[in-house]
């Protein structure tokens, strides 16, 4: 969807201080550029760690971005529930939507990505065009301004 240079450019505009991630095969290609450009990459072993870690960074004054695949989003559901609905901390996640652009592949991870977002009742956008990097920035900014969590499903 985006090159490493493109994502780094928009994350700089978003003033992201930390990327917390469990990479997938698409976002993983960005690692060299992210490593070189950002204040800190925080690598977690399991997606359930990512959301409370983002809370800690956020309440301590940083601007983290969580990156993971839809499969990780499914896995980390309880952590996300707690952050969004109990703590009410405005975390933001860029979620790689596995096989979204490959309808010929039967993949329940693709089929349930958008329904899950709707079921959670969270504010999200779908990025399915390579020219939508600024849409990510705009959505992140609007969620921050509103003080609510936000998510971008990035079609893969």
């Amino acid at each position: 969807m985006f090159t490493g240079a493109e994502i780094v450019a928009v994350l700089k505009e978003m003033e992201i201080t930390h990327v917390i991630w469990v990479p997938d095969s698409e976002m993983g290609k960005w690692e060299p550029e992210l490593d070189a450009a950002l204040a800190q990459m925080v690598r977690v072993c399991r997606e359930g760690e990512a959301w409370p870690l983002a809370v800690g960074l956020t309440v301590a004054g940083s601007r983290p971005l969580v990156m993971m695949q839809t499969t990780g989003l499914f896995e980390s559901g309880d952590a996300l529930r707690h952050v969004v609905y109990d703590l009410e901390v405005p975390v933001y996640g860029l979620i790689g939507a596995r096989n979204w652009l490959k309808p010929e592949i039967q993949d329940s991870a693709a089929a349930y990505a958008e329904p899950l977002m709707k079921a959670w009742g969270v504010d999200f956008i779908v990025i399915d065009q390579a020219n939508q990097a600024q849409g990510l920035k705009a959505h992140y900014s609007s969620c921050r301004e509103a003080g609510i969590p936000g998510f971008a499903l990035m079609a893969e």
């Binding site: 072993c45 760690e49 959301w51 409370p52 870690l53 004054g61």
Partner: protein, 191 residues
């Protein structure tokens, strides 16, 4: 085996005035009985296994402040990988204190999968890369260690072998989570 409340009283005596203390599960119910500090965050209700990552986030964002997280052994077992994440982050200002009692205390005392096994949390921590990992089952020894703990290089790992908590101590009501995190955020901003 130590009394859990007494073991936490040791921590309350040695923590610095600027230090953050994040407690979780059973310890979140007992900690308010031994400490009332703006930099305390009783992570309750919570997601089991989430306390160490949350504390790690604070520690990364504010590297000049000591951050202590108290986790039960059941919660740590749900997120053993978080020890790796701590070491991988390179943070040096985080102290993990595990209260090991072999049971899921807040659900009534059921045994964890590690109960009765030879699992040694300090050995695991050392294997992950904590060069400062210790186990105590004696209050005097823990007290002596705690007095000098923050003068040593972090990240630190301390495993405290404790008995079941007094049931009365586990009755402390939880604050509304969103209100508590807002208060915590305000305290962290005054750094």
């Amino acid at each position: 085996m130590m009394n859990v409340r007494e073991s936490l009283e040791v921590l309350s005596r040695v923590r610095g005035s600027d230090d953050v203390v994040v407690t979780n599960q059973g310890s979140a119910r007992i900690w308010p009985l031994v400490s009332q500090h703006p930099n305390d965050f009783q992570y309750n209700p919570s997601t089991m296994g989430g306390a160490i990552p949350l504390a790690l986030g604070v520690a990364i964002a504010q590297p000049n402040r000591e951050v202590v997280v108290v986790s039960g052994d059941g919660a740590l077992l749900m997120s053993l990988g978080s020890l790796v994440s701590v070491i991988g982050s390179g943070c040096q200002n985080l102290t993990i204190i595990v209260l090991e009692n072999g049971i899921y205390e807040v659900t009534g005392g059921q045994r964890t999968p590690a109960s009765g096994t030879a699992l040694d949390f300090s050995t695991i921590a050392s294997g992950v890369g904590f060069t400062n990992a210790h186990t105590f089952d004696d209050l005097a020894a823990w007290s002596r260690h705690a007095e000098l703990m923050f003068e040593t290089q972090g990240p630190r790992f301390v495993n405290l072998k404790v008995g079941p908590a007094d049931r009365q101590d586990l009755q402390t009501p939880a604050e509304v989570a969103a209100e508590q995190i807002h208060r915590f955020q305000t305290a962290l901003a005054n750094h």
